[in-house]
């Protein structure tokens, strides 16, 4: 009988009764054929592989990583809380030692959800990986965690949430933002003033194939991870780099995804996008499951592989080789942030964010305190087309005394000013979450 080398927990939550809309790619049967394939292969009978039921995330779980306006309930449905809960269950299984690794095959996805949330963007409302990561930091006393996002789209939400966090290394491999939604993820985006080089973007050209992805992992991702020495590695395992995906232009394969996963060797993988639900997902998911369990995946191959898979051209190979130096430099010798304020003052960033799914326009002013003793208190003023001005103030994990005091003071001032519909306080040091909505 087959035995897994690594004990693997699978959290499978296909949400068969939830869709964004009837013909939307993020719809009920997205994981139906994946489940068929995994069942037919007998995955759940393999010695060492267990299927686990998701938790349901709590509002506090969400508030650790998001400022939801006007509150958590207004921007989530039960399915989002179960999907995030699935990721949390995966983390619990690994960190409690129930299993060696875990894969949360859950939907809806989350990696386009940013720190502040007014609605759905890029099929995402709340960020499953960041909610899971903050759960790990809160409950398991881990500090350094890496997220490697292998979805075809730039993980702009995850990037935004950890932009200022030097303890979280976020690496995103994606189709170049000049050619695909959401348009971001350029080389020059490398983290906030207090966390330079801890956000790493690797924009790959359209039609990158197995060779290019594996090269990127070997020559860029792995050396950076080796240096950062994370205690936990998380993979945002989007599957829309597949050559059959209807909404992207890459040339990746099931076998390639399995090999990538084997090399990356994440503790936890969380499903993100992937909309070729018949031609790709059943095989990619199977490949990832086998790779994580340490079982031979060499016979995993799409039925049309020989006919439709095209290896990349020489130009692409050359282009990716040239990326290498820039990417490594961004991590090992990051250029300082020229807009960085002096110590004790705020660095300000202005952002306009479009929520494509819900058609919401948000404009933000983000203030981060430059502090020598901690990551610095964060304040986001946000106005959205559906909400009057709101503000979120966050005292970070391990926030210093001065930043704690500053955070509480900013909160009181904001409430008193009556300028905001909603004022949120996230105090990660004292685990206090306040919401004052007028």
């Amino acid at each position: 009988m087959l035995k897994a080398k690594n004990r693997l927990g699978l959290i499978f939550f296909p949400a068969y009764d939830w869709a964004i809309s009837p013909t939307h790619p993020e719809r009920e049967e997205r994981l139906l054929y994946t489940q068929d394939q995994l069942r037919e292969e007998g995955i759940f009978d393999i010695d060492g592989i267990v299927e686990l039921k998701p938790d349901i995330a709590t509002e506090e779980d969400v508030m650790r990583s998001h400022s939801c306006f006007p509150d958590v309930k207004s921007v989530t449905t039960e399915s989002h809380m179960i999907s995030a809960g699935g990721a949390i269950r995966a983390a619990r299984a690994v960190l409690d030692g129930e299993v060696d690794k875990a894969f949360a095959l859950v939907r809806p996805p989350g990696h386009h959800s940013m720190k502040s949330v007014h609605g759905n963007r890029g099929f995402c409302n709340i960020n499953n990986e960041s909610i899971m990561l903050e759960y790990i930091r809160e409950k398991y006393n881990k500090r350094k965690i890496a997220i490697v996002d292998t979805d075809c789209h730039h993980g702009d939400g995850t990037q935004d949430i950890f932009w200022h966090d030097p303890d979280v290394l976020f690496i995103s491999l994606h189709q170049d933002g000049r050619t695909l939604y959401p348009g971001s993820g350029h080389l020059r985006e490398l983290g906030g003033p207090n966390a330079r080089g801890k956000t790493i973007n690797i924009p790959l050209p359209p039609n990158t194939s197995e060779e290019g992805f594996i090269y990127t992992i070997d020559k860029m991702v792995l050396p950076i991870l080796k240096d950062f020495k994370p205690e936990v590695i998380i993979n945002s395992a989007g599957q829309d780099n597949h050559y059959t995906d209807p909404i992207t232009n890459m040339n990746f394969t099931a076998h390639g995804y399995a090999l990538l996963n084997e090399k990356l060797n994440p503790h936890i993988a969380v499903l993100e996008g992937g909309y070729s639900i018949q031609g790709a997902l059943p095989y990619v998911n199977l490949g990832i499951v086998l790779a994580m369990a340490g079982i031979d995946y060499s016979s995993v191959k799409e039925p049309d592989y020989n006919k439709n898979y095209v290896p990349q051209s020489k130009d692409i190979t050359e282009y990716i080789k040239q990326l290498e130096e820039h990417v490594l430099n961004n991590y090992f010798n990051p250029a300082p942030d020229i807009e960085r304020a002096p110590v004790g003052e705020f660095t300000v960033r202005r952002k306009n964010i479009y929520y494509d799914t819900d058609g919401i326009q948000e404009s933000q002013q983000e203030h981060i305190l430059i502090c020598n003793d901690c990551r610095g208190v964060l304040m986001i003023e946000s106005t959205a087309s559906i909400n009057p001005p709101c503000i979120g103030i966050e005292i970070p994990v391990n926030g210093c005394k001065r930043c704690q005091e500053a955070g509480h003071k900013l909160f009181e001032q904001a409430v008193k000013s009556k300028e905001y519909m909603t004022v949120l306080l996230t105090d990660r040091v004292n685990k206090v979450y306040k919401n004052v909505t007028q």
Binding site: M1, F13, Y16, E29, R39, G42, D45, D296, S299, P303
Partner: protein, 551 residues
């Protein structure tokens, strides 16, 4: 009158039940070398003095196929698997004659790679040369498209006595389970069908003109005639017989635990709102999972004859049995001896029990009463822990919709029902917050269950309305349907095709309470347009008994 025979590992019980209840019972030692003779003896004894014309039904639970598998008395079987992309098919070889043939069907039932017929012909020749007469054909996703299994079967037609095709065993997905189940079904086919032919023949000769049915692990029966080609369905039916016995003896409406305590093992089963729980995937033979439907059941090595051992001052009971208890003339003290010592039971020769516990005490630095009480505590804890584990697993069972996730019903047992030889003794030691019930006639609950069990069945329909396809794999139905085919149509079709199939096989009408248990329809989208519906409907006849014996 209804007649039932339950052939167990050590005992064979026969029961005759009429409208007033149990009319006669008979218990004999099982002659494992001659099950046929054991059955005939039991049959003759239990019907002596009865007008055989009044017998309306015979149910039989046998260990024949189970034993053949466990003792590896299997006929050499040629297993042909074609698999397609996925886990390396080498992992699913079973027995010494598995042949892997190129060919592949995908999860939508489309043929991706044609069957390599020249390799197939070559391997068939090798089988013929080897003298192999029984075969099994299993291809990946054959429950979505059975064409390659049919092709293999066709090529084998003139070369053997019997062939099992995977898609006829179950509609459930799981290629490895299907391969193992088909293999075992063929490997015990001959011994099982010869046995059934003899039983049917002898019943006729006794002048009994009643249908003969065989008990299955899911607590239901299958007509003997149909069972000939589905031998594997009759494995591991022993516990199911006992559980069905409980449902006839006690009015169960709540969540409950059933303990069937024997000499060497305790079997644990669960009821949800009065209905025995079915294992969702199928029973395992040893560590090989199959598609054979079964009741949810756990077995642990604690029974009345479980031997007491002491290592480094730690008292343990089981899992071995080293002969009977001291009270019954054995050499080493067992759990029953501990209960005799503690005054809980008064089983056979109590003095011998006391002696045995005392002599164990002399070899260890523990007082006899400590040994007795620690043995009992150990056994109680083992059983309680296993009940908790089973409940945890059942209650943690994953669900796949937001609705079920939020509704999540948990099983919380209100009562424990105990049957089996030492049931009365365990009633005392398990006492606690939960109510314990030992039904009258618990000693023959197994035979009562075997006698009264009704037919069970399960089938599943798949339709891809875009491709105008509908199939019910395990009853061999494949039809063209219109693109407007609805979920309602599918439910209706599944029930009527299943009914027709069962009636043809000799299932009696009164038993055919077919209910739809799962039903879903997904709109499939190509680009941004609908390309038809993916419809799936599952129906079953759930386990039940022909009459109740409680007042």
């Amino acid at each position: 009158m209804l007649l039932g025979i339950d052939v167990g590992g050590t005992h064979t019980d026969a029961v005759l039940i009429d409208k007033n209840g149990i009319k006669s019972t008979f218990k004999a030692k099982t002659d494992t070398k001659d099950l046929f003779n054991t059955i005939i003896t039991a049959l003759k004894e239990v019907i002596s003095g009865v007008n055989v014309k009044e017998i309306k039904n015979i149910n039989l639970s046998t260990t024949l196929s189970t034993n053949a598998i466990i003792e590896n008395k299997l006929e050499k079987t040629g297993l042909f698997i074609s698999s397609g992309p996925g886990i390396n098919p080498e992992n699913f070889k079973i027995g010494d004659n598995t042949y892997i043939i190129d060919g592949s069907i995908n999860h939508r039932g489309s043929e991706i790679l044609k069957l390599d017929t020249s390799a197939l012909e070559k391997d068939i020749k090798a089988c013929v040369k080897d003298g192999i007469k029984v075969f099994a054909a299993v291809t990946k996703f054959s429950t979505r498209n059975n064409m390659q299994e049919l092709q293999i079967s066709d090529s084998l037609k003139n070369n053997g006595d019997f062939i099992t095709m995977g898609h006829l065993l179950s509609s459930q997905l799981s290629f490895p389970r299907r391969a193992a189940t088909a293999y075992y079904n063929s490997a015990v086919w001959r011994i099982n069908s010869n046995f059934l032919i003899s039983v049917i023949d002898v019943v006729k000769k006794m002048g009994i003109n009643a249908p003969v049915n065989i008990l299955k692990a899911d607590g239901g029966t299958i007509p003997a005639e149909a069972s000939k080609s589905l031998a594997v369905e009759s494995i591991l039916s022993g516990t199911a017989a006992s559980v069905m016995g409980i449902t006839a003896l006690c009015k169960i409406t709540d969540d409950a635990v059933v303990l069937d305590i024997g000499g060497t093992t305790t079997d644990i089963a669960l009821f949800a709102s009065g209905v025995p729980l079915i294992e969702k995937d199928g029973i395992s033979i040893g560590n090989i999972p199959t598609l054979v439907r079964s009741l949810q059941n756990r077995s642990i090595g604690i029974g009345g004859d479980s031997v007491i051992s002491i290592t480094k001052g730690e008292v343990k009971v089981g899992p071995e049995r080293k002969g009977p208890s001291a009270a019954e003339g054995g050499t080493e003290p067992t759990l029953i001896d501990a209960m005799n010592f503690a005054g809980i039971t008064n089983h056979q020769n109590k003095e011998k029990s006391i002696e045995a516990i005392k002599s164990l005490s002399e070899k260890n630095k523990l007082s006899p009463s400590d040994i007795a009480s620690k043995s009992i505590d150990f056994a109680v804890k083992k059983i309680k822990d296993e009940i908790d584990r089973l409940l945890f697993d059942v209650n943690q069972k994953p669900v796949y919709t937001v609705h079920e996730m939020l509704q999540g019903r948990k099983i919380i047992p209100k009562k424990i029902y105990i049957i089996g030889g030492p049931a009365k003794a365990f009633e005392q030691v398990l006492k606690g917050d939960i109510k314990i019930i030992v039904p009258e006639n618990h000693g023959v609950a197994n035979a009562i269950g075997a006698t009264l069990a009704k037919t069970t069945f399960e089938s599943e329909l798949f339709s891809d309305t875009g491709k105008e396809k509908m199939m019910i794999p395990n009853i061999g139905i494949k039809e063209k349907v219109s693109q407007k085919y609805t979920l309602k149509d599918a439910e209706k079709d599944l029930i009527s095709y299943t009914r027709k199939y069962l009636e043809n096989l000799g299932y009696r009408d009164s038993d055919l309470n077919i209910e739809v248990v799962e039903s879903s329809s997904f709109r499939m989208i190509e680009g941004f347009y609908s390309s038809g519906n993916d419809i799936r409907v599952k129906c079953q006849i759930k386990p039940g008994v022909m009459m109740n014996l409680y007042k």
